[in-house]
Symmetry: C2
Subunit: 338 residues, 2 copies
Amino acid sequence: MTDTLSDTPVATSPQGKIMLVGIGPGSYAQMTHRACAAIAEADVVIGYVTYIKLVADLLEGKEVIRRGMTEELDRAVHALARARAGKKVALISSGDAGVYGMAGPTYEVLFQAGWTPDADVPVEIVPGTSAITACASLVGAPLTHDSCSISLSDLLTPWPVIARRLEAAAAADFVVALYNPKSGRRTGQIEQAQSLFLRHRLPQTPVAVVKSAYRRRQAIAFTTLDKMSDCDIGMLSTVLIGNSHTFVRDGLMVTPRGYANKYDLQGDGSARDGEKRGRSLSTGLLGWSANLHADFADGVGLAELAQRHRLPADYLEQVLSTPLTELAFHQGPGDEDA
Amino acid sequence: MTDTLSDTPVATSPQGKIMLVGIGPGSYAQMTHRACAAIAEADVVIGYVTYIKLVADLLEGKEVIRRGMTEELDRAVHALARARAGKKVALISSGDAGVYGMAGPTYEVLFQAGWTPDADVPVEIVPGTSAITACASLVGAPLTHDSCSISLSDLLTPWPVIARRLEAAAAADFVVALYNPKSGRRTGQIEQAQSLFLRHRLPQTPVAVVKSAYRRRQAIAFTTLDKMSDCDIGMLSTVLIGNSHTFVRDGLMVTPRGYANKYDLQGDGSARDGEKRGRSLSTGLLGWSANLHADFADGVGLAELAQRHRLPADYLEQVLSTPLTELAFHQGPGDEDA
């Protein structure tokens, strides 16, 4: 941080405000109306040089503060100073403003400067399409099931924290988006991620590497988990790793939602035996708990059940101590998908 | 599914296409330009009744096909039939089109109907702001660190799969967004999620419940993990659970990015002893690996190291078998945040 806030007057002008704007992946088409309007409304636009370039057409007549990559906190300090001086400030992030974006660092700086939402300049966060969904839209439908975003950057996060998350996400079969997968200096992390995933997923698990989504040099590559770290991956890439059901067909990466668990998709689309449209699966919470109770009553031990369901024994113990009537008590109307 | 595709001609008209449109949380301001243009361009708009209402102003002169919640596959079947007949079809999802949205089911239906990208109607996916980021923008900056999206609906997913993901996400300290947390009929899942999280997180972990983000009946409630399941939660709610560092201050939920790990934020903002701007933390991959090698050389056993770092022993064994020079080999230019 090169600037300090010590001499800045607090809330001298009621017009000033800070808008934390997620501009989406980078093209005008993929920006929200609100993101555009926020930049249009701004007197001052602050951002990383690359992102400033992406919105160059919207900047005429505005004060523009370009900052380097290592200067996030400095950007927030400037934003607060300008806003307190009565300016409308747009602090821009690519993707969403909150996902590894400027929203967090800005609030940290604001709190430290004694800012409070009621007695100081207002702050608005303008969400946008994050890299995970922007990249997914270009490769098919990989995010139809539960997913994680994990940054491989260890510039602010200790490696064991990152490694534990990779390990957990791999084991629990999440679709995973790796942000900041690799840089000129930081090349080992993607190899470590690959190793951790290969402990739980097949080598042929589909992987997509998307570079500069919706920007001029957009590039998409499909690969598999065992070849992932050999790909051309850089700071502008996002890596999408499929779950155990994800497949690639005709150049499209798709994670099934699970309709085949319930419906006969090869036949007339009717519900399978024991399944009912609009209701939980027979292996849903209630059905599964009932089976667990039955197995336990039949003498199957906790340790065996824990292994079978790959869940902690103490959690299963808790489920077994909950009467089924408590889980099945509520009988509201059907109100759900599928 | 009430319709079948058996009698539908394939690609009779080159004008037809399918656009899978994520309309964002629901307000016009939060839609992307492309999402709006795609709906404007469409001859036919297909969607769940609630989402059709959200874009009612954009539908004049268009054929509108409203469908209930249990009819996703039917929506896709209609979209393909209309597109093959030469119509431009917008199939709308709230949030992002790929995140638990229509993109996945549509590709599943298309593949089954013999569709291929080269020889049939084109498909475009229009991404949008997903519930996780839309809701986050209204409560502060909870997503500044790694996060997961988990759907609690067990209508297509067996409960043990969901439970394993909750357990893994809780243990690895992800910020978590729970989609479909509760419905009239399905009330036990949120309680189970709470139990699984309480095994790993403090009772006072911040939780935000956001209902109808950016819609008319928007409601935001802050609570804590131990009280989470007592909140007013429904099918229009998204639940955001903070990680172990997330805090609430002045009505804002913020997850720190980790600047305090590297910089003296209380002082002049300079890097802490042993840390360097633009470089990995001293506890990053390289520094951490070096310490691991040193501890092992000093006689600390694998089992002890595994426990200390909460990582699998076989992963640590692999790190120990990798020469540090291999991790440190690359010396590109600094090119990263922070």
